[in-house]
Symmetry: C2
Subunit: 198 residues, 2 copies
DNA sequence: GTGTATACGTACCGGTCAGTAACATTGTCA
DNA sequence: TGACAATGTTACTGACCGGTACGTATACAC
């Protein structure tokens, strides 16, 4: 049998992957602009040309970071705390519970996608474009969940939850002991006020 | 009568002030890290040594930008749309109305203070410190207004409003036609659900 | 072994960035 | 007129940053 020419699984971990991992960690913690490519490759234990063989530019690497972040996000959102939920209300509340717990811990750095949007105001930036596409989908998903909850105005409840969640991302970086600790209560208020009673 | 030695009012506008104005505009629009000192002085119509005669470093200039922003913010917050309000509920709603109108317009760039916190994750950064102090005060002020509204739990309503407002700042940059358009409705929901009826 | 492809490293380039030194110019007030 | 304060002019530095030209090591094919 011919040895499979799969683009290599296992193995000590290829340079490109080490770079992705290193970039994800550094870009999230310090911000994309603040981190130089030298720092990325050093932490990855590889050299610069290896980076530019797999990524066309730093912008391209940043976009890859965004895509990785996006994947990771959906895993966390759809299975908050590692569990899956059938009830949309419990689903959203579980995500917010897990999120707001993380958000009040020291060193929390918010949502990498939202942060990138702030670091790169230019619409045509590749990283920003990934982030924008993500947020569009996230909004749609929240609206869907709001609808499944039986909200009178799913669009409004969806937006309310999105505003709340983005508020958690943002204030979580501003201080520990921040408003995120009230987030779960607020989420319940919003849902209960939006869903027809009885 | 001796001519007052006020630190100079009127006059064609001093270099330091032109620099502050230029920096404020550029830092807000493009982000602090993205703007070089050369660009700041060029727009101000002055030269680099003038900048460094009035500011110790770029970080110091960024901190000055934060202080200017802070002043401007409180003016906008306490007198939304140029009017003053005695009723706390109307006051907050007026701010959110004006804010969310701005936030759905193209080119909106959110809150300069929140953005700086994201650009500078390090706690000891001078600009970030100004931003953090500001947010602490803002939270306190919102709690105060929530209390004046007669909220059952002023801390919770204050935090809810803060989360909402930060959510507007953030999502306003992500797209026009964004969730900010629902913000006023959401604010009313939050307040009504938090204030004892009857 | 020799060819070939893959994966990686060494060393460097040009540009930009924050910050400065030294000196010239202007306006104001006495 | 003379002194002082504020600003402009020019030119420079050293660090960093994104990006690249080019050489090297390993492994498999025949």
């Amino acid at each position: 049998m011919k040895k499979a020419v799969e683009p290599s699984a296992e193995r000590p971990l290829r340079a490109a992957d080490r770079i992705r991992a290193s970039a994800s960690e550094l870009f999230y913690r310090e911000g994309i602009r603040a981190v130089g490519v030298d720092e990325v490759v050093e932490r990855a234990g590889v050299t610069k040309p290896s980076l530019y063989r797999s990524f066309a530019s730093k912008d391209d690497l940043a976009a890859a970071y965004m895509r990785d972040y996006d994947l990771d996000f959906w895993e966390k959102f759809e299975n908050p705390g590692g569990k899956s939920y059938s009830d949309p209300r419990e689903h959203v509340l579980a995500y917010i519970r897990v999120l707001s717990t993380r958000a009040v811990r020291e060193g929390y750095r918010g949502c990498g996608l939202s942060n990138a949007t702030i670091e790169y105001p230019a619409r045509d930036n590749p990283a920003r474009q990934v982030a924008e596409a993500h947020k569009k989908l996230f909004r749609k998903r929240l609206r869907e969940l709001a609808s499944n909850m039986g909200a009178r105005h799913p669009a409004v409840l969806g937006d309310a939850l999105l505003l709340l969640i983005e508020g958690i991302y943002s204030t979580g970086q501003q201080s520990e002991d921040g408003p995120a600790q009230s987030a779960l209560t607020v989420a319940k208020m919003l849902i209960d006020a939006s869903v027809a009673k009885g």
